[in-house]
Subunit: 348 residues, 2 copies
């Protein structure tokens, strides 16, 4: 791995108490080019702009996938990743679906480790603080013909982060627009999946909602995911969440919460969750909680959901909140405040 | 409009008889930045690489749409565009769906005219020769948070082209993978729509097919489009094509062919076309032609289609081929060899 160090750090210019999510980047970045059928020697260089031709395929045909990860620091200054091999495996699943070559595990893990060691001071301890890590791949071949690129760049950039959302969100269940098709790329962290959500989300925001919970494109009868979060529903004492499939991202926060909930003795049903049953549960007072789960947002409780133009409020206060309990359980593992029986925590 | 001319043209380095589609670019390009809520002064500069940060939103969230157009030259050296206002209108439809600000008509038309005047020598006369024009917009704000960009770059780049496809193609009707969802972005020329097709197309190619004809994601019973082409089916003397909707691109070649066919007295049915009826027509010998239509490819005749693992051959020779007839009628207008009653041809 070639390493070019930044002469002086820019860390002292950063106000770590007033970070806008994903907008301040650390001193260095990792990059590795795929040319002539193979990944070349990776390098770490100072974070900064790159030169790219306007005809680069990523701009025209959207071959771009990414991951979202976080590094955490305990009060003794030890830094940790959370299930990083799952992110490596998932970016390669995303890549395969978009005809992008898979990235070697040792390049991913070694590059990440070296980068985070160099930029270790950017990982701040304290609850809610983390270093958000963004591995991504883009198609770099020049040429405007609609076929897979023969050149790619794999990069890792990092941005210090505080908590992503604050407070509860109002969501609306999708009834017109859709996020993903059967047989499409909804399960992949493909760049195009996100752009497709912005316009419907803008409409929802104009109506006073924060987020859309997407439903199946065929019938709009089943709840899927929220674009940057998987969704959980607590009906009575049972926790419901949709199974992952080719439309729904296999969220790492999602599967960690399922595991933690099961170990805590909570009944978790991973099965299609219908709009009708959630509305009925709400009407009967049995829908106690709804929350989103994702790496950037961690756990986001829902205040109300709308469907058919009607708002349904969730209880404002529930004893033994699952959202709070499993967020804390997750954070305790991530920040090295609790034992990690699962081997999820990886010391940098 | 600010103009920076290339000191010397690189046109003499180009072999116009051996062009790879979309890989050789002209001397200049058009660009215009959207910053602080408005489009700034456009400029024309030498074609070349640009500087962009790795955190630019286009790489992460796929806000990128494009158009495909061509300029043609007649034997007297006059250059023409074909229905350019339709491309302007369509890129703005695509942009709106991806939460990208619309681009002013005068910037688009004036920029195109000026650029093509400067690079006029790159438009070669002769049937099949054209200048392929690629307007596109990308999100340029730096930041890895999943929300619409507040900065964009609109660009026009141009590549001299010969005929795109040669000969007939073998297609397969999609039965597992999908291109677009109801309520999704299939109608838009969104970058992400193309990346999503590459992997299934690679699988199809491994099975000996050139292209996939996409079907509706819900049932796979209705034929939609081929990703870079709309599809036409000739059953007896009737021409069938699917109606445009939120999953199917409103192709300019498609609607031009519909118009030319209607004016030639051909019955054109714009309605959902089922796989079953096309298979039945093929079995009864009534399926005389199938062809794709798009700007890059113009008209591409289909040799055979596959469904349920069975190949169905189309007649190798048909008298009064619609594909040939309407391709010629279209080209005659484009190359200024025929009267243009529709006002489609626009002199540069």
């Amino acid at each position: 791995m070639k390493i070019t160090q930044r002469p002086t750090s820019k860390i002292n210019d950063v106000d770590f108490n007033n970070l806008v999510f994903g907008s301040t980047f650390t001193d260095h970045m990792f990059q590795c080019d795929f040319v002539d059928g193979k990944w070349k020697e990776p390098e770490i260089v100072p974070y900064g702009p790159m030169q790219i031709e306007p005809s680069a395929k990523v701009f025209h045909y959207g071959q771009a996938v990414f991951e979202g990860m976080k590094a955490f620091k305990d009060d003794d200054g030890n830094a940790f990743l959370f299930r990083p091999e799952d992110n490596w495996a998932r970016i390669n699943k995303s890549s395969a679906r978009l005809a992008i070559p898979e990235f070697p595990k040792e390049y991913f893990m070694d590059g990440m480790r070296k980068l985070l060691t160099m930029d270790n001071d950017w990982i701040k301890s304290g609850d809610g603080n983390s270093l958000y890590i963004r591995p991504f791949v883009i198609a770099t071949q020049n040429g405007v013909s609609a076929s897979p690129s023969n050149a790619y760049r794999f990069m890792i950039i990092c941005a210090p982060a505080q908590a992503y959302y604050s407070g509860k969100v109002k969501v609306v269940f999708a009834q017109k627009f859709s996020r993903a098709a059967d047989g499409g790329v909804g399960f992949a962290k493909a760049a195009g999946n996100y752009a497709a959500q912005f316009y419907p989300t803008n409409l929802a925001k104009a109506d006073g909602y924060d987020q859309i919970v997407w439903t199946d494109a065929n019938t709009h009868e089943y709840l899927e995911e929220a674009g940057t979060m998987n969704m959980f529903f607590r009906v009575g004492d049972t926790l419901l969440t949709a199974p992952t499939n080719d439309r729904i991202l296999d969220g790492i926060t999602r599967k960690s919460i399922i595991k933690l909930a099961q170990e805590a003795g909570v009944t978790v049903e991973v099965r299609p969750v219908s709009v009708a049953e959630i509305k009925e549960a709400a009407q009967k007072g049995k829908l106690l909680e709804m929350f989103g789960a994702g790496t950037a947002a961690v756990v986001v409780p829902v205040e109300s959901f709308a469907h058919d133009g009607v708002d349904h409020k969730l209880p404002s206060d529930v004893s033994d909140s699952y959202a709070q309990r499993f967020k804390k359980a997750l954070n305790d593992i991530q920040y090295n405040r609790a034992a990690d029986h699962h081997g999820w925590r990886v010391k940098i």
